[in-house]
């Protein structure tokens, strides 16, 4: 009897625990905020689709999940699912025509941010400020102290705010070049509502916009930039890459490279050479991000193939003691269900780079995921803009999100020199993944790659990387079992060939013999 009671008690408690666990899981998942990024138009003619991608990347880097949607596609009531909503105006000349969106946004209680023009009166009222339109201005963007500034392109119109409430926070100023040198706020935050008069995908504007987003979503952080060399491939000039790693090592600059690789032909001398240079990179204070491959004709069913390919890449790397710390990819891969599930999910550190001109999706769903750390890839050129004689890069910038300042892999020793000169000009304290406590993990099939405080672990075991030629753990090549039919056809070809040759020989012999017999018939005996 007692036993029966115990059994009952145990099963009830198991069910109860299970239920508790199950109900707690989504609560846990909700700790990352989800934001609706609603844009009016992509405005491809102006390349403004890049702005959408850049905001997505910033949010991902800030550990904010983002769902992107055109305002025209918005369905009434959807906004309730989100902790915040961002309105992005790319084409101010046209009016929004989704009343449901504007109504829902007005009643929305979460975080609200408006980027770009056409800030409505209701939105301005929410910000407890008055709108002010600036016409035909050349503005200068600067920080509060005035120590960092960037000259902006001439703007026809710009909508700014005035008469801000006392509790308002401002991030950066726009200073007019006119005689009175008036200042207008760039990023504005009033309570849970924010405003950015414009958005740019590079330069100081981007840094300040990211700061605004970080403050608004309560994800404030201070990050040193990671020097990253992008567009490395197995076809890059290996001598240049080797030289690059040596030069940076000698100057004590930690760096990362983002490289694609191949999943086959690991025994080729060319691959061995590639792997050797990558090992040198690892030994010279560099870390490696595996860049996702270029995309050709993919469909929604390309996922398993992609997963296998990524595994092949990683396994072949591991066999040659190359251990990537994360995956680098074009931003749009994070907006695609197939790419996320079959490639990006393998890593907990992701480097998000700008999109190519024509992104090819497998199954676009515009629902990004967050990682343990997502690094925003920012082209170094956008920080080298000269404003009043001083490059932005010379001023230690405070990046609000994990940022990689990227340089394209040089193609010759001459362009390498040029790149090194540019790096010197950027006066940054570069982030060092080895000493600054980065721990990363990639899981690929049965293998795990970990990087902790500068040490690489393969399947949990610490590994030292030897620079010389490693006898790669060559796995026995998998020979496809040859079908007897194929063998038959192979032999059949040879048999027929031999048969023909023999027949030919006999044929020619017969002609000669026959001719002699024929002639002999006429010879008198």
């Amino acid at each position: 009897m007692k036993l029966k009671w115990c059994r009952w008690l145990l099963s009830i408690s198991i069910v109860w625990c299970g239920w508790l666990f199950a109900t707690q899981l989504p609560v846990h998942a909700q700790t990352t905020p989800t934001v609706l990024l609603a844009y009016d138009f992509q405005n491809v003619a102006n390349n403004d689709q890049n702005k959408i991608a850049a905001i997505q990347r910033i949010l991902t880097s800030l550990n904010v999940q983002v769902k992107t949607e055109a305002i025209a596609d918005y369905q009434a009531g959807d906004m309730q699912k989100y902790t915040g909503v961002i309105t992005l105006i790319n084409w101010p000349q046209t009016k929004l025509n989704n009343a449901a969106f504007e109504r829902d946004r007005q009643h929305f209680k979460g975080i609200k941010l408006h980027i770009g023009q056409n800030l409505t009166a209701t939105e301005a009222a929410g910000l407890q400020a008055k709108r002010q339109m600036l016409y035909h201005q050349q503005l200068m963007l600067q920080n509060h102290a005035g120590s960092i500034h960037q000259l902006l392109a001439f703007s026809e119109t710009m909508l700014t705010l005035k008469q801000l409430p006392a509790k308002a926070q401002t991030i950066g100023y726009l200073k007019s070049q006119s005689v009175d040198q008036r200042q207008y706020p760039y990023g504005t935050i009033v309570g849970q509502q924010g405003y950015l008069p414009y958005f740019s995908t590079g330069g100081y504007s981007l840094v300040l916009a990211a700061q605004t987003l970080a403050k608004l979503f309560g994800q404030v952080g201070h990050y040193q930039p990671l020097l990253t060399i992008t567009k490395v491939t197995p076809y890059s000039k290996m001598a240049v890459l080797e030289r690059l790693s040596r030069d940076l090592y000698q100057r004590g600059i930690p760096f990362a490279i983002s490289t694609t690789t191949v999943g086959a032909n690991g025994h080729f001398k060319a691959y061995q050479r590639f792997a050797k240079v990558l090992r040198l990179v690892e030994n010279r204070g560099g870390v490696i991000f595996l860049k996702t491959p270029a995309v050709g004709g993919v469909t929604a069913s390309s996922g398993p193939g992609l997963a296998t390919l990524m595994d092949d890449y990683l396994v072949q790397f591991a066999q040659n003691q190359v251990f990537p710390v994360g995956i680098s990819t074009s931003a749009y891969w994070n907006q695609d269900r197939i790419y996320r599930n079959y490639a990006l999910k393998k890593a907990d550190h992701v480097l998000l780079l700008p999109n190519p001109t024509n992104p090819v999706y497998a199954k676009q769903d515009n629902q990004s995921m967050v990682f343990k750390q997502s690094i925003y890839g920012l082209d170094a050129a956008s920080l080298e803009t000269v404003a009043k004689g001083s490059s932005l890069g010379q001023l230690a910038l405070d990046f609000p999100m994990p940022t990689a300042v990227t340089f394209t892999m040089p193609n010759s020793l001459k362009s390498l020199k040029n790149m090194e000169r540019r790096i010197t000009k950027l006066n940054y304290q570069w982030f060092n993944p080895a000493t600054q406590g980065t721990t990363t993990k990639i899981t690929s099939g049965t293998a795990t790659f970990e990087f902790q405080h500068g040490t690489y672990f393969l399947n949990g075991q610490a590994t030292t990387i030897k620079t010389g030629v490693t006898k790669a753990k060559t796995l026995a090549p998998v020979k496809p079992t040859e079908l007897w039919v194929n063998r038959f056809f192979k032999t059949q070809g040879t048999v027929l060939l031999v048969f023909f040759v023999v027949t030919f020989a006999v044929f020619i012999l017969f002609i000669f013999v026959g001719r002699r017999v024929y002639l002999n018939m006429f010879k008198r005996k």
Binding site: P234, A294, V295, G296, G297, S302, F489, G493, L497, F500
Partner: protein, 498 residues
Amino acid sequence: MTTLKRRVARAIRVFEKIMPPPLLAVLICALLAGYLTFVPPINGLADNGDYYRAMYSNGIYKLLGTHYNYFGYVTQKFGLMKYYNEYRSVNFSSQPLFVKLAIWLNKLFYSKSIFDIRFMGLVNYGFYLGSIYMITDAFTYPAKRLRNYVIAGLVVFIFGDSSFTLYFNSFFAEPQMLSMTLYSFAAILLLARQRYRHRWPLIILYAISTMLLISSKSQNAPLALSYVVVTLGLLFLPNFKAQRLYIFVGMGLLLVTGGLTYKLIGSSFTDINQYQAFSHGVLTQTGDPSKDLKKGGIDEQYALMKDQDYYAKQFATIQPSQSYVKKNLLPNYNFAWIVKYYATHLKQFGRLMDLTAADVMITQVKAVGDYTKASGQPAGKQVTFFTGWSQLAGAFFPQKFAFDCLLAVAIAMVYAVGCYNDLRNHESEGVLRFFLVLGLLTMFIFVPIISIVGDGDADLAKHIFMVPVSIDLIFILFVSDILNHRLWHAYHEEDQTS
């Protein structure tokens, strides 16, 4: 019993009268190809990335807002440009003539803004049926015997094969190549067999179809040489001395067409071929090409491009169409480099040629799907309906290039005997036929070599399209000549009773 026999004989005679072998062949082919091409869900070939060449310069575009499918599924509907078309043809080709005709029919009967691929199919279908009629007529004329139905059946079995007719619903040039080859073959054979009183219509048909064939694709340019061989036969036509000059002019025209087709290849086109001749040729069928590349003055790293396509099927380490490859790899080698490479790597070249020989009879393009997405079939699914010949020949044809060469010599010898006999008897049939066969044999042998050197083993089944067509033609010719007792000499009515 005798009455029954007589009745059967009469029924056969009536049947022969109302349904001669050529007509029967056309009817069956029309049914087979029509079913594949027009009856929904339609079949065809999916885009392998080459369609744009035929589409944009002719004012056809991928419909916006739909997911355009490469490789997996056949696309049925395209858009027709309404306003100024800024695209220029990427190369000199006769294909636009056929595409324009399809567009015109589409505009006339269907829509001015939407293009249905079936109109392309219709144009191909029309030319094809005409060529089937002529070719069967050429094989069977002038005999009136029941066994001609066997020949007609063979024509249907071989050229009615779905691996050929699937091409109809596509923007590939192959369907036009097929019918033009059949027209020019039939024209020569009918001339040899003196089918019509006037010769000039057939000569003109031959000239036009051959020129359309040679200019339909840049890789057909070398065929001009093969057709010069075929044209040589015309010089032996009886009572033709006065017109010989025209024949020489015609040969000149053929060579010019070939030269133009070769010269006017667009740059993107040459890039693709040059790249794939490397990645799918030089780098394949060998252990580790790294060292050989270095010796040849190319960065050894490019060895890792082995088996890469110019347009990645799914994923690729690097997109070869982008500027990196164009700037760093392509300027380092050319056609002469590749020829020299193979000359010093004969073993590898031999393996590649055997690979080609193995692919010669596989005419169905396996790389792309044959169904539309609406059909509910999986992506890349292949049609198996009426593919008996291509499957049979694909499986049993010997996979050695040396065999092909020997076969060519044997066939040439057989037809040389006929040629010699007819020359002695002052007849022309065997002579024309010999040059025709010789021309086709040069295609049979040289097209694979040119494909490998010019484009590697990429898209091999498509590039060596002329090889199976030419050997199929020779095969039917051989069988029909045996059946009608005309293999060793010209056709004589009196032989037939023996």
